[in-house]
């Protein structure tokens, strides 16, 4: 695990260095290099997140309802994290408006995933009082 982490840190440093060297001569290529580095790191992250999800599912497997709620939370968190990464990449390229739009999109996606939970809470509340 530590070796893997060191390898990923090396790749991140190398990608950042390349992007820095390219920035003066060819900023577009520098941006693409940065994006490629981020994508590589994200691909590595996905496999680890899937492993975390499996472990969390095992923790919640005792109760199917808890597992369902856990999955909903996982989706909300994923939407928020991915949109944040995209927004940061856009800001790195100097596109603040694009970054802000991406953040808004991520929030809207998370809200869309959270609203069914809110609806179920409202149903439970009305069942309690009516």
């Amino acid at each position: 695990m530590t070796e893997d982490l060191l390898r990923l840190i090396g790749a991140a440093v190398l990608g950042s260095l390349c992007a820095l060297l390219l920035r003066r001569g060819n900023p577009e290529l520098a941006f693409l290099t940065g994006c490629a580095t981020v994508l590589f790191l994200l691909a590595e992250l996905v496999s680890r997140i899937l492993a975390i999800r499996e472990e969390a599912s095992f923790l919640l497997s005792q109760a199917p309802f808890a597992s369902e709620l856990g999955n909903a939370l996982f989706r909300i968190a994923s939407a928020s994290i991915v949109s944040r990464l995209g927004a940061e990449a856009a800001r790195d390229a100097g596109q603040n408006a694009v970054g802000y739009s991406l953040e808004l999109l991520g929030t809207a996606a998370a809200l869309l995933l959270a609203l069914p939970l809110l609806r179920r809470v409202m149903e439970a509340v009305s069942a309690c009082f009516l």
Partner: protein, 332 residues
């Protein structure tokens, strides 16, 4: 005095026989006193099971929240989602606790309504017809009012407090947090005032110091005031009276009515006591690991369980006071 007691047994038996069978329906299936230990372990298992389910969810929320930037919209949405998930996991199946307290309240009133006419009749026969009539009316009315306040006002308020706590933890809104604090204070105040007024109204406090073993009184008072939350001090004052009156009524059939009362509220009392304890411990355990909103909500849930436990204990106290207060007229 002996004749009075014999008549009392007879009257209670007659009252039970002539009573409409439907009046006893709420008591059917209620476990009796000797089942207390049997109730404790399943409740403990249930509470621990629910806490372990919550643990996985709270851990997931805590980890995911650490990836998100604090104060941003996405983080707020996630926090709200996490609190809603915990709320659904705890309370989606039914309003189990509130329903069980409502049933206990109905059971207490059934026992009081069944036993009180017979007891008042016995007092009347022993030559205290005016006292018996007035005491029956006063006790029945005050018990009905106090039980109605707990059942119809404080219980829905406790449910509202739970919802307000979830909203405050989900949206981190200062106004909601203030509202939650105020409602909690108001609930505690009303519970205390209901019990204080009831104890004062029935005149039980006047019985203080008339008889009884001082050491036993002190130990009972200390035990109740330290073990019953919120209303412990009021309950301990009443415990003194209960001890005095219990010594008068010992070995009489009235112990049957008291046992029925205890049996009626034992199940929700044990269940709520265990849940209150388990969630209090769990809220301390999860605080450093779970997300901010989830930890805050679980702490509020443990406080609401404590309040519900206090309400159930109040119902039991109320019933015992009424039965034993009427017995005082018979015993003397």
């Amino acid at each position: 005095m002996r004749t009075g007691r014999i008549l009392l047994v007879f009257l209670i038996l007659m009252g039970s026989m002539s009573m409409d069978a439907s009046a006893l329906e709420p008591l059917s299936g209620v476990p009796f006193l000797h089942d207390a230990a049997d109730l404790l372990f399943p409740s403990l298992k249930d509470a621990a099971g629910q806490a372990s389910k919550l643990f996985g969810l709270a851990l997931l929320a805590g980890i995911a929240e650490s990836f998100l930037e604090k104060g941003k919209a996405a983080e707020r949405v996630f926090r709200a989602g996490a609190v809603f998930s915990v709320f659904l996991l705890l309370f989606s199946d039914s309003d189990g606790f509130l329903a069980s307290i409502r049933t206990a309240s109905d059971d207490v009133m059934t026992v009081i309504r069944t036993a009180l006419p017979a007891l008042a009749g016995a007092a009347a026969i022993s030559g205290k017809s005016a006292s018996a009539l007035s005491s029956e009316a006063v006790y029945l009315l005050s018990a009905d009012v106090a039980s109605s306040v707990i059942r119809d006002l404080l219980l829905p308020a406790a449910a509202a407090l739970l919802i307000l706590s979830a909203a405050a933890a989900a949206f981190q809104n200062d106004m909601l947090k203030e509202g939650e604090k105020s409602l909690h204070g108001l609930l505690t105040f009303f519970l205390r005032i209901t019990l204080t007024v009831f104890v004062g109204y029935t005149g039980v406090v006047k019985v203080f110091g008339t008889a009884g073993d001082g050491a036993a009184k002190r130990s009972l008072r200390l035990a109740i005031s330290s073990s019953v939350p919120v209303v412990g001090s009021i309950a301990s004052e009443a415990a003194d009276s209960i001890l005095v009156m219990a010594s008068v009524t010992r070995s009489t059939v009235g112990s049957g009515a008291v046992a029925a009362l205890v049996a009626a509220v034992l199940s929700p009392l044990v269940r709520l006591g265990v849940y209150s304890l388990v969630f209090r411990v769990f809220s301390f355990l999860i605080a450093p690991m779970g997300g901010d909103g989830v930890s805050e909500f679980i702490r509020s849930v443990s406080e609401v369980y404590t309040l519900l436990f206090a309400m159930t204990a109040s119902l039991l106290l109320l019933g015992i006071l009424v039965i034993l207060s009427v017995f005082l007229y018979v015993g003397t």
